[in-house]
């Protein structure tokens, strides 16, 4: 503690200068005082850090990291580029509204891989957030993609049975070195996956599309299914690619030898004379679903092919990213702005009713004799200690149409039996239940501030001629304002993020933005949108806090006397 006093109380630089004009001032052990001080300060800081380390770690792990993750999720958009890598690359080279054959071919490969890996449905779900209909489009075409190019495959295998043999393809396309390693792997009979397929130089040069299509097939077969390419017949896509390669390069067979050459020569001839039909992926896609021929579909893919996107944030404020920039959503799809406004307004109303109801009680508590005040305090704290769910459910019993309150009103003849008041499953229900639940958060800070206001002030005011009201309004009330501030901040910030009470008593009109967040987390699984909504909510709260600090000053807020 002595070190702290020195460092806090005595600016060491100036102290050393005045005390020792000749050399550095020395501590008792002969080291320069400055160094000795710095060391002990450092030690102290370390000790302080160690003391708070558990809390710091806890906050980092449970608070900062999740928030970081949330921020990341709200902009991250890897799924399109990860699921359709070839399409995204091909789209970059093709600026036309509805792209040409290379993009459709890339799409066919990507989609075939995605279907095997079962990722196309997730992609559809993701893109559906931006444009309704993408989900069913990708699911539907996902089912059709396996059959695409079937007539080509049939024609090729009809020409020569050997094309049905997996070995034929391996012999044609594989790198001899890979064949060697594969054979060793097969002989070793271990359970590790087959060595990744590698194509020969000749195949890569003369049959580029075939190699690309086959590589995709090989990757899925080996890595995802754990099978061997030597035992699986390739997808139809590979047959189409081979036919396309031979159409583009009829002499490709010359780069190969033996059986391969003979088969390719035969196939080349068949491709040339039309025995093996030419097919267009574009036609096959459009046949699967007309939407593939429409510019809208492709502009969605193009717009959301980047790895990061503002899409979720735009969505969270009822905007969308169209081909011509940012635009409003259709009126019937707009819900979030309205929800944000409703959340803010209702939180304000709830805070207001808390002040109205809480202030007199806190005043009573602070001014009654100790024994009565304690009893009242227990009445305030008892609901505070009761489970939130129990209290909310109790409100359901009280407020419903056949509930206690309506029954009493009907019995008293205030309302007719036919038109009982709707007090629940609407905004009224949310306001009543949440006011009750948040009331202690208003009363407690108010009480502790009022407790600290000396009674003599009001007596002095009265003795100087003020009537009761003036004494209260001019003397007492201003001193209790910091308590109102603290209570309001607590109530408002708690209210704005409330979830369970609006969910239970709010119906459809009395729910908050947090209910929508919960819905997107657990039902619709749109975690990106949930993250964006959460981030906006966080930003709004911080903005309001900042505004409050500017207007009222956070120093004026007191949580205790």
């Amino acid at each position: 503690m002595a070190d702290a006093t020195i460092s806090g109380g005595l600016p060491q630089g100036r102290g050393a200068k005045t005390a020792s004009p000749g050399g550095p001032m020395l501590a008792a052990d002969g080291t320069p005082l400055r160094a000795s001080l710095a060391r002990s300060l450092r030690r102290q800081k370390m000790r302080a850090l160690l003391l708070i380390a558990p809390l710091l770690l806890f906050i980092l792990v449970t608070f900062v990291m999740p928030i970081g993750d949330m921020l990341f999720r709200s902009v991250e958009n890897h799924i399109v580029a990860d699921t359709l890598p070839r399409t995204v690359a091909a789209l970059r080279d093709d600026p036309s509204e509805v792209p040409g054959e290379p993009v459709f071919r890339a799409m066919a490969e990507d989609l075939q891989v995605a279907v095997e890996e079962k990722t196309h449905t997730q992609l559809g779900t993701r893109l559906n957030y931006e444009s309704s209909g993408m989900s069913s489009l990708l699911r539907g075409t996902g089912r059709d993609v396996k059959g695409m190019g079937e007539d080509v495959a049939k024609a090729v295998t009809g020409l020569d049975d050997a094309w049905e043999e997996p070995g034929t393809w391996v012999a044609l396309l594989a790198d001899p070195a890979w064949v060697q390693t594969q054979a060793e792997w097969a002989a070793a009979d271990d359970k590790s996956p087959e060595p990744a397929f590698a194509a020969s130089a000749a195949a890569t040069e003369r049959l580029p599309r075939t190699v690309e299509a086959y590589q995709a097939f090989a990757h899925v077969t080996q890595a995802d299914d754990g099978d061997s390419v030597t035992e699986e017949e390739p997808w139809n896509l590979a047959y189409v690619a081979l036919a396309d390669d031979l159409r583009a390069d009829p002499g490709a067979a010359e780069a190969f030898e033996g059986d391969n050459r003979a088969r390719l020569d035969a196939l080349s001839a068949a491709v040339a004379d039309g025995t093996v039909p030419a097919v267009s992926y574009r036609d096959m896609f459009v046949e699967s679903d007309d939407a593939w021929g429409e510019p809208g579909t492709w502009s969605v893919l193009r717009t959301f092919s980047s790895r990061f996107t503002p899409g979720y944030y735009l969505n969270a404020v009822d905007l969308k990213l169209g081909p011509n920039g940012i635009e409003m959503r259709e009126p019937k799809d707009r819900i979030y702005l309205q929800l944000f406004v409703r959340t803010l307004v209702m939180s304000l109303v709830i805070t207001g009713t808390c002040i109205l109801l809480g202030y007199p009680i806190a005043f009573l508590l602070a001014n009654l004799p100790e024994r009565t005040a304690n009893l009242l305090m227990i009445l305030v704290l008892l609901p505070f200690w009761t489970s939130l769910l129990v209290r909310t459910s109790a409100w359901k019993v009280l407020l419903q149409q056949q509930g206690v309150i309506n029954d009493i009103l009907v019995w008293l003849g205030i309302v007719g039996d036919g038109n009982r008041l709707a007090l629940i499953n609407n905004q009224t229900g949310t306001i009543i239940a949440m006011t009750h639940i948040l009331l202690p958060f208003m009363i407690l800070p108010l009480y502790s501030v009022m407790k600290g206001i000396p009674k003599s002030y009001v007596r002095a005011a009265k003795s100087l001629g003020a009537n009761d009201w003036t004494a209260f309004w001019r003397v007492y009330f201003p001193q209790s304002v910091p308590g109102i501030g603290a209570g309001s901040i607590l109530c408002f910030i708690l209210a704005i993020g409330y979830y369970i009470t609006p969910e239970l008593v709010g119906g459809t009109k009395g729910v908050f933005i947090s209910n929508r967040i919960a819905y997107h987390i657990s039902d619709s699984l749109n975690w990106g949108l949930a993250a964006a909504l959460g981030t906006i909510l966080l930003a709004v709260v911080m903005l309001l806090y900042w505004a409050y600090d500017r207007l009222v000053g956070i120093d004026n807020v007191k949580l205790g006397g």
Binding site: S132, S136, G140, K332, I335, Q338, N425, T508, S522, D523
Partner: protein
């Protein structure tokens, strides 16, 4: 042979005392489980349904094998939990109970393992193959069916404003003039859209054709708009029974087993409106990527828990129909109340004069679009 066997089982099922006998019976046919883990985490729905599973086959299985079973009651958000677990790379669940459409979603997204039914499940006690015995309930490669249930309506029988009339037509839901009062409907487009279209004049077998058209969903929502102000929306199956019992609603949709509880167990003045009940399946999925020991245990359990007798046993605790055809003749009486379960079964011919079957393929294709549309409609 077959008939004596059936009669024998039925007779045993009538006696509560028969439980240990059955267990012994099963012990002889339960093969040992080699290389199996000795515990399971099962996700289910909680409540009466989970209890029926516990009594009908989980407790008997535990008695035979001595493994521990931990329940996780979060099936209503099963897909979210499975996806989160898969992202985290740590799958805490061994077996998950889901409705048919969710199984489709899990299967499509690779969250659930594909199962070879012929190998994994027991053939029917009447000798029928797995495929024949389960029939239409084998909706995809991941889903092991347990029961079929229907979503249907219950109504209060003591509403004075109705002047002695009772609803017997699904479209009475939309008739607020003859049947005034609040209704409770599920806060989900599923089933509500189908009913709305049926009551908007669409023949039942064309409901999904109409929904498939661009204006189909709007048409259904427009029909729902006519009663929107009279609807309390529920998210948990227990809400409608509660609302009916509290007189908060005069009619409402929920799962038929819940209504059975209100009528038969709670003895509330509530009756069932079976018109156009909407069938759906509930069953097991196995999370993808379990290690071998856990997988062995789960498959061992599944074979036992979905055999003919076990599925029939489940109907003693809850009014849902067993998914196996061979279990149907074994359905008898409620274990505590002693009443015949057949009149409460959704598959009773009297109850299925008009019915809809939830089109899982259509819904899994269009769920994302329609759900977003419906939620926006609901929020406005």
């Amino acid at each position: 042979m077959r008939i004596t066997k059936l009669l024998g089982s039925a007779a045993l099922a009538l006696l509560p005392m028969a439980a240990p006998v059955l267990a012994q019976d099963a012990a002889t046919e339960l093969p040992p489980c080699d290389g199996c883990s000795d515990s399971m985490v099962i996700m289910s729905w909680g409540g009466a349904y989970q209890n029926s599973q516990l009594k009908a086959y989980v407790e008997p299985y535990q008695a035979l094998t001595g493994i521990t079973v931990t329940w996780d009651e979060s099936s209503n958000e099963a897909i979210a939990k499975l996806r989160a677990a898969q992202e985290a790379g740590n799958m805490p669940y061994d077996l998950v109970d889901v409705e048919g459409p969710d199984s489709q979603r899990a299967c499509d997204e690779g969250l659930a393992a594909e199962i070879d039914f012929d190998e994994a499940l027991a053939p029917g006690s009447d000798g029928s193959s797995v495929e024949d015995d389960f029939g239409d309930s084998l909706i995809n490669d991941c889903f092991v069916p347990q029961i079929y249930f229907s979503t249907t309506f219950g109504y209060r029988t003591d509403v004075a404003e109705w002047n002695g009339q009772t609803p017997d037509d699904i479209c009475d839901i939309f008739d607020t003039a003859t049947f005034p009062g609040k209704r409770s409907l599920q806060a989900s487009p599923k089933k509500n859209l189908e009913w709305a279209l049926v009551c908007d004049g669409v023949p039942a077998d064309q409901v999904y054709d109409v929904l498939d058209t661009p204006e189909g969903v709007d048409r259904a929502l427009a029909k729902l708009d006519t009663i929107k102000d009279d609807v309390i929306w529920w998210t948990a199956g227990a809400e409608t029974p509660q609302l009916l019992a509290d007189k908060e609603v005069v009619m409402g949709s929920t799962y038929n087993g819940r209504l059975f509880s209100v009528i038969a167990e709670e003895k509330q003045p509530v009756a069932m409106l079976w018109d156009y009940e909407n069938f759906d399946f509930d069953g097991w999925i196995v999370p993808a990527g379990l290690d071998e020991a856990r997988m062995n245990r789960v498959m061992h359990f599944l074979r036992f828990a979905t055999d003919t007798q076990r599925l029939a046993d489940q109907a003693k605790y809850i009014a849902y129909g067993p998914a196996r055809a061979s279990s149907q003749p074994l359905v008898s009486t409620h274990i505590d109340l002693g009443i015949e379960m057949a009149p409460f079964m959704p598959t009773n011919p009297d109850n299925m004069k008009n019915y809809l079957v939830n089109n899982i393929e259509w819904w899994s294709d269009h769920q994302d679009e329609v759900e977003a549309k419906f939620q926006a409609w609901l929020g406005q």
